[in-house]
């Protein structure tokens, strides 16, 4: 088939094909009712987030923060560790200064 013939074949086939396209513009009402349903869903989702999920989520986060920093009203472990390390350094320093003093004497 030559190029021009193929182009003509393509044009004719597509013109035939376009007859299969139904043009029912009355579907606006169907589409609009679908749109309103969709809008209702979006609105209820927003409401759920604003009045339901979001406050609950914030409460959960607050509760976790509280539990993290107030475990049995004890000092957090990392604070204890740092403190313990410092005590260790202090005691070692004291020990060596005592040794040095005794050597001098």
């Amino acid at each position: 088939m030559k190029k021009e013939d193929f182009d003509a074949f393509l044009m004719n086939a597509i013109e035939d094909d376009k007859r299969n396209i139904g043009c029912d513009e009355q579907n606006f009402d169907v589409m609009y009712s679908r749109l309103r349903k969709h809008q209702k869903n979006v609105d209820s989702q927003k409401k759920m987030i604003n009045y339901g999920v979001l406050p609950v989520l914030m409460m959960v986060v607050a509760l976790n923060m509280y539990l993290l920093f107030n475990q049995n009203n004890e000092t957090p472990k990392f604070v204890e560790d740092v403190f313990a390390e410092e005590t260790l350094i202090n005691s070692s320093a004291n020990y060596f200064s005592e040794v040095l003093l005794s050597v001098n004497e």
């Binding site: 393509l10 139904g22 043009c23 679908r34």
Partner: protein, 183 residues
């Protein structure tokens, strides 16, 4: 259509959720969008569904419409993307459907099939197998008879030459897939 709107008026009315303006846009663009969508998916019901989704999308995303392009260009762009996404998911589903069809097919099943219908089915399959940009340009050019300039704007391409090349390659690929030899 009860009222005529300018482009500015229509966008303003749509942003105010005016249902009459919405009806006006729907009636003005319904056939055009459906034609473009059909050009990609080749099924009347699927094209109808896509058109409805395009208008729901329009309603949803109007606040994000920056008015850098015309409303029609924007609508065509949404329609093309939705149609091609639909086609992509359909291709995956079709792998299984066609396999089932082949397994259940009688050997002389195609003999009585009308030649014209067979050619049209082959053409649909060839268009559906085209790469995305070629399929979109082909649909706009042949199904909606748009100019290359309009296609370049809708598809956000830099030049008309790119559109020409896409349509040329699409035709070549269709020819190859339909096994129509050159003389």
């Amino acid at each position: 259509m009860t009222q005529k709107y300018s482009e500015e008026e229509i966008i303003k009315a749509l942003k105010n959720r005016d249902s009459e303006a919405f009806r006006y846009v729907y009636q003005k663009y319904y056939a055009k969008i459906k034609s473009v969508s059909y050009g990609v998916v080749h099924n009347n019901e699927d094209a109808e569904d896509i058109v409805q989704e395009v208008f729901i999308d329009l309603y949803d995303s109007l606040s994000r419409f920056k008015e850098q392009s015309s409303l029609s260009t924007w609508l065509y762009r949404i329609a093309l993307n939705k149609s091609y996404n639909f086609l992509r998911s359909k291709k995956i589903r079709d792998i299984f459907t066609r396999l089932e069809e082949r397994l259940s097919q009688h050997p002389d099943h195609n003999e009585d099939e009308d030649e014209k219908n067979r050619q049209l089915t082959d053409l649909h399959r060839a268009i559906e197998a085209l790469p995305e940009r070629q399929a979109k340009a082909f649909s706009l050019f042949f199904y909606e008879k748009m100019s290359q300039k309009e296609i370049a704007e809708i598809m956000q391409l830099n030049s008309i030459t790119t559109v020409e090349q896409l349509i040329f390659r699409a035709k070549q690929n269709i020819r190859k897939m339909m096994k129509i030899n050159e003389d």
